[in-house]
Symmetry: D2
Subunit: 290 residues, 4 copies
């Protein structure tokens, strides 16, 4: 296994930490990022630098991508020095970016036309789990390809789920983010109403978080909410983008989502008023009483 | 303690089970309900029957009420044979109905004018916890009154929270129900989107319920969702009423709740289309693909 | 006709202008307002001042009220020096305040119990039409009472509609305000989207206002929108209150209104962020791009 | 002018009537449609038939397209026998389909790369105005191109607006449809609330339509609403698609639209429940009391 050449493209908050865990697990790694600075720590730790997605892909058996938008994925794949211009026939491309399932299916088809294999493998978890190798992988594609990539997923995550055909990984990912977005906004309105009724904020927060009506993931946002420090772990504008992908997909599938679309616009209001680069829990601040 | 005379008014799905637990704990009990049939099992178990709220209250040191609406509470209290026409000066009235905090404060003031004491003590939990004595009590009022009522709460519940002044119990209760309503509807839209994208329903349900983005309380609704059997534990129309109380309170307190108001109307649509007497989890059915 | 004694209670933006038109038409008038200053111009024009609603009502054959909220109407009616403590048996009370139909029916019943007659007669139109005597009256109650009040309505308005039983005037009024609230907010989002797409604001405003998709009433808000001057004619917080009455009524009547409830919360957000005392067209500013 | 060769592609409800008016005005016309049946009346009236978009475009100086979706436009343009494979350098393509402005700009750029000229010229008005030549044209692109196409627009419409650069026609069109969608849904909820309050439906409809809070365009929907006959003039699913284009565009431009997104989902619910092929005014039925 260790003899395989692997490449990793996209070294943001998530990608840099994930690549680090691959290196720690002893896998030789070639890396690329739009700006080289973000790769320097990895290079010092033994990663090879490649000047372009093409260069990164040329000798790779497996190429991992961890990018922010479907549009960025397309740019990295189709550019002159892009992934598709360098990748070897038969190689495996694993896209771990959060995209909508239609996009993953499109990438699977494009890969097939290039004689390469494809997995959509988005992850659940943000900065801290990425750092600790505790991400959850949600994977769609051929099962044999999944088995090939599994050791690498295990180096980056604590749970790996094979969910069936291409697009199913991306599908499950947007469902999880949708639930997170709902919980965060519902909890925010609820706590603010409690305060408006004269209840003590920390009492309300404690009572709710210790009651089974609250999703456990909200525990991780408690400190941010109590002191109103919204240093980003998962930027609010990424959540808003994910909710847009939810709405696009619902339109394609002819499913009406009145609640999710209102939710989407609350995050959009927050972004429009300057909260986009804060943590997604800053929806608490936006929905506040001034 | 056991020497106190206690009365219990309101023997619906919840009240009948709660009164039963008081009897089991050895407390002598006088009961009243609008229709006597619902009291018969309790009478066989040793409860005294009273023909009216007035009669029930006459000899009581503590009167518990468990009713469906603020309007019903008012009717029971102010009617010719109502609670206030019978209750002794100095007695304690404990209203466990789900009402809005403004209403609880109004009842506290009205009680004070009658020289009686008042606690708002709504409960979290539906049919099964009521039966098992596993409710959670959320109590507002004077602390000495709370201490006096505590043994009875403990006979009916597994946790008893003293939350401060009059209305705080009701305030926390509507917050908890609001979170439940949100979770149920968000989960419903999310699972349906999963199915619309071609994912297997039980796979989506399992993945989400085992992920920290889902509130633990949703586990209790899993069976209903999987087989679409919405036998009521907590009728949907009661949840819609609670959301109305949320909206009323938010208006009074000048707090805007865009998400909660949409949520409220989704439950209202479901009620309007005939789902009102089903379990509140029937919002899953309403939000479905037909 | 002119021999009847008439009283007018409530001299705000609307009421003061309406009372002035009654005076101009030659009707002798006794007036009352919470603060006397607002009556001074009317007193100079020949109106009698009364120190309380009771005093105002004592000699009146017809009492007109023009107040801001159901709560204020109740206070004026039931206070120690209130309307009901002074009004003569057989007199006619005409309530022109914007209230919900359930409230008007309650006032009709309370009036009947006092042996007085009642009309709900809210008006469509704000400051300028009030000044010019161009209001539209929407009247519910007995037809003979309507005929008795009609000459006075005609002195204040340009159109008078008899709509049937008690409450129907108030019912039609909240429908009209609901349409206005919708139009204003929909127009606002639409113009802002136009600007966000790079279109010229005044071109968009002109094109839309000259197209049959725009309600004619929006013409009257054009100047405010173009220069962002939201001097109040119809304060935004009154519109938010009216939308709350809509939501209350819809709940009572078991009709789900997903769109109106979102609309309500947009006005509530605007009020919460300090736009409450501006004109209701300030929803344009709230929904803007910052 | 009459010497120019013109082609017309897309002969649905709208296109067939528009092409007929071009013929009536004496312009020689080559037509194409996916299914030939819809062209037969036009062929009998003197139009030339072309087997493909390519054939239709080959000799044309100006090519008009009137298609249902951006996706259909792309298919007609880029197919093997598509518009771009046949059209002459220097020719003018006028796309009258309702698409979003980003798409129109993309088509303008693609046209430029093909050395052809482009106008986005969507129309306001449905079946009847199309038949009577009373459409309103909203045109974006070069002014000289606009002048060249103007005589043809005038044969099909009663008003022609030049709105500036490429995409501005499409931008204004989606704004107008958004206003229409709002008006129709707001009017529907309002009338239903009136009925729920016990008012007579036709009285409410008349009062509202004669009041300046109602957009004049609603007059044209009165008959449908009164008898609940929703024979399509503008199919509801097209409106839902247009609202989706609005939401897409708002996302691209970073403008939050809470009201429009709820509106969109109400039409989506209606479509999902089988109202998609009815007239868009069937939202009245969907929002009804059952």
């Amino acid at each position: 296994m260790g003899e395989k050449n692997i490449a990793f493209i996209g070294l943001g908050i998530m990608g840099s930490r994930m690549a680090k865990n691959l290196l720690k697990a002893g896998f030789p790694l070639t890396v690329h990022n739009r700006t080289k600075e973000k790769a320097e720590d990895l290079i010092r730790s033994g990663a090879q630098w490649a000047d372009s997605p093409k260069k990164a892909a040329e000798n790779a058996d497996i190429v991992f991508t961890m990018l922010s938008h479907p549009e960025v994925v397309e740019a990295v794949v189709y550019a002159d020095n892009g992934l598709f211009s360098g990748i070897k026939p038969g190689a495996l491309w694993v896209d771990m970016s959060t995209v909508h399932p239609t996009f993953s299916k499109k990438m699977a088809e494009a890969s097939s036309a290039q004689n390469i294999r494809f997995l959509d493998a988005p992850v659940s978890g943000s900065k801290i789990p990425a750092e600790r190798g505790e991400l959850i992988f949600l994977v769609g594609g051929e099962q044999t390809d999944f088995e090939e990539a599994k050791p690498y997923f295990e180096a980056m995550g604590k749970a790996v789920h094979y969910l069936g055909k291409h697009g199913n990984g991306s599908a499950m990912k947007i469902l999880i983010n949708l639930m997170l977005a709902h919980n965060m906004a519902a909890f925010s309105e609820t706590v603010h109403l409690g305060e408006a009724m004269g209840l003590d904020k920390s009492m309300v927060v404690e009572m709710l978080l210790n009651h089974p009506v609250s999703a456990p993931i909200l525990q991780g946002k408690k400190a941010k909410i109590m002191v109103l420090d919204f240093t980003p772990e998962f930027p609010l504008e990424h959540m808003q983008k994910d909710l847009h992908l939810v709405a696009l997909t619902a339109f394609e599938k002819n499913y009406a989502m009145p609640l999710a679309n209102v939710l989407k616009e609350l995050y959009a209001q927050a972004k429009q008023h300057g909260y986009g680069r804060m943590d997604m829990s800053a929806i608490f601040k936006w929905l506040g009483q001034e």
